[in-house]
Amino acid sequence: MNETLIPYAGVVTEITGQTPDVKTFRVEAPEGGKLFEHLPGQCAMLSVPGISEAMISITSSPTNRDFMEFSVKKCGCLTDWLHAMDEGQMITVRGPYGRHFPVEEELKGKNLVFVAGGIGLAPLRSVINYVRDNRANYGRVDIIYGSRSKEDLVYYNEIVSEWTNTPDFHVHLTIDREQEGWDGHVGFVPNYISELELSAVNACALVCGPPIMIKFSLPNLLQAGFDKTQIFTTMELRMKCGIGKCGRCNIGNKYVCKDGPVFRFDQLDELPDEY
């Protein structure tokens, strides 16, 4: 019988440094191909046995048939380990876990606004590339992405070389402070949202980033005419089992690992103000 707690062993076939503290790991099955299928926004539990397990969102698009990718920020013992390892190293992966962004349901046919800060782009990248690969199913796409500095922008090359070249894709990059060699926008993401005069008509917004960014982006999106039912975010909380049984990631009666991590903002309003 299949047991969701038992992971697959996968091979890290490529490690790409994104920023000084973010690396992207490409994982394939030992015999090649993907370990399992997933939908955009879903997570997987990565682990190095004996070190630790951590829930990481799958940043590659499900449309990618060959491998999965995970972007990991260095911030704990497992992530330190991952950052230090070489290609060819095996790790264990289990999943996919959680609710995905409703790409085939609520998002289909809509204009999409992606709002991301720092490593928060990782879960959205899966959606963005899914949208690119199913371009006809979606309308205008605006990507507002900010980071502390140019070096801290993840997927920079992909953004510049691929996303900006996708039809009706509008990428708005910003960094927190002026920096030599940067002639783009400077300022915080929430402010940038207001500056851009986005249209909420037939649109959905997908927000992911540091809590403070989400907190200040929400009113600005609401001001831009978005309704809470049009705004989605994805959360990160202490997850262990990934299947809503171990009991630690709940907010009220919802388990982030099972009922999330993707929530619509109106759903979050139903939950107690625990976090």
């Binding site: 019988m1 299949n2 047991e3 969701t4 707690l5 038992i6 992971p7 697959y8 062993a9 190095v48 046995p49 004996g50 070190i51 630790s52 397990e53 911030c75 704990g76 070489d86 060819g88 190293q89 095996m90 790790i91 264990t92 909380l237 202490r238 262990k240 089992c241 299947i243 049984k245 171990c246 009991g247 630690r248 990631c249 709940n250 009220g252 009666n253 939950l271 107690p272 103000d273 625990e274 976090y275």
Partner: protein, 343 residues
């Protein structure tokens, strides 16, 4: 309905043990009942209930989930699951029997926990109706009938023997396997016994406790209540209530480096523990108030929310007896209701 003579009890146990491991409440070295494996000569405890609940049999305190062999860059995942052996749990009380249904609602819903399922499938539960309930008992609050417990087989202790009723196919099979020791009987004796015990249950100090005003949809109502502060004030943050509770099912997954491989095991965890929700970037529940609230909100609101109004408590009263500082779900329920009434 079948009947077993009291004198036939040990042969009955022997017959059950012949086919499967038989566990029943036995007094331990400090005079407290705990489930132990029956062997020739082992006497069943006369205590009302075991100190620890019966959940251990399906959800043990620790269990190995899998192993890993690591060599160079290679990792081998070793599935160590084995088919569980058949076992019989004899003498489970109504509250614990009801707790299995609650655990099922966690572990047998998709995705099924195969470790739990394996044990559940191989276990046969013989319940024993209560004859002498204690002041801490309040299973009636949650609609559980102590005189008619669930289980594969239900047993009643009578003056001269035990009445046995099979409730499931597993139960039928179990009774069939010991048919030689049993005689047919009618329900009269059982009904008389039930009437006697129901009269006692009605006199218990907690008999008036109801779930009125608690349950589904009460999150907003209860979450920010001022009562939590006083209720949680004395809480030590230990795991006693959780670990003696038949319905608590939170767990942790940890790795142990044996020196020649990694064992990944699961163990009970308690939401009362300060590190339960601790993560690399901080802890969403930093105070004991939040942790305390979580435990009771889960049993009284969140679980009913997600499970058709069924409460996550069976009123076994273990936490009432065991909490080092005598704080418990009954006090919480009463305080929340009282606070609600005052508002």
């Amino acid at each position: 309905m079948k009947k077993l003579q009291k004198t036939q009890l040990q042969p009955f146990f022997a017959a059950l043990a012949a086919n499967a491991s038989l566990y029943l409440p036995v007094d331990n070295e400090v005079g407290k009942a705990e489930f132990k494996k029956w062997q020739d000569g082992v006497q069943m405890s006369t205590a009302l209930n075991t100190l620890r609940s019966a959940k251990d049999f399906f959800f043990p305190q620790t269990e190995n989930l899998m192993e890993f062999k690591m060599e160079g860059k290679r990792i081998d995942v070793i599935d160590t699951r084995e088919e569980c052996e058949d076992f019989v749990l004899f003498g489970v009380r109504a509250c614990d029997a009801a707790s299995f249904a609650i655990l099922d609602r966690v572990y047998l819903v998709d995705p099924v926990d195969t470790y739990y399922k394996n044990r559940r499938e191989h276990g046969t539960v013989v319940t024993l109706a209560c004859g002498r309930p204690a002041e801490t008992c309040f299973c009636g609050t949650f609609g559980i009938d102590a005189t008619d417990p669930a289980g594969d087989v239900t047993a009643w202790e009578l003056a001269d023997g035990y009445a046995l009723r099979a409730n499931t196919e597993k139960g039928e099979a179990l009774l069939a396997s010991v048919a030689a020791l049993l005689t047919d009987t009618d329900t009269a004796e059982v009904e008389a016994e039930q009437a006697r015990v129901r009269a006692i249950l009605a006199r218990l100090p907690l008999s008036g406790l109801t779930t009125e005003g608690l349950g589904e949809g009460m999150t907003k109502e209860f979450f920010a209540r001022p009562e939590w502060a006083a209720l949680s004030e004395a809480c030590l943050g230990c795991g006693t209530c959780t670990f003696v509770c038949p319905t608590c099912q939170c767990y942790d997954i940890r790795d142990f480096d044996t020196g020649h491989g990694i064992q990944r095991f699961r163990c009970w965890d308690s939401c009362m523990y300060s590190d339960f929700t601790k993560m690399a970037h901080g802890n969403p529940r930093t105070s004991q108030l939040e942790r305390f609230r979580q435990r009771f909100m889960h049993k009284l609101v969140y679980f009913p929310d997600n499970n058709d109004g069924i409460f996550g408590c069976v009123g076994c009263g273990r936490c009432l007896a065991r909490c080092p500082i005598s704080m418990n779900i009954v006090k919480v329920m009463k305080a929340l209701k009282k606070g609600g009434a005052e508002q």
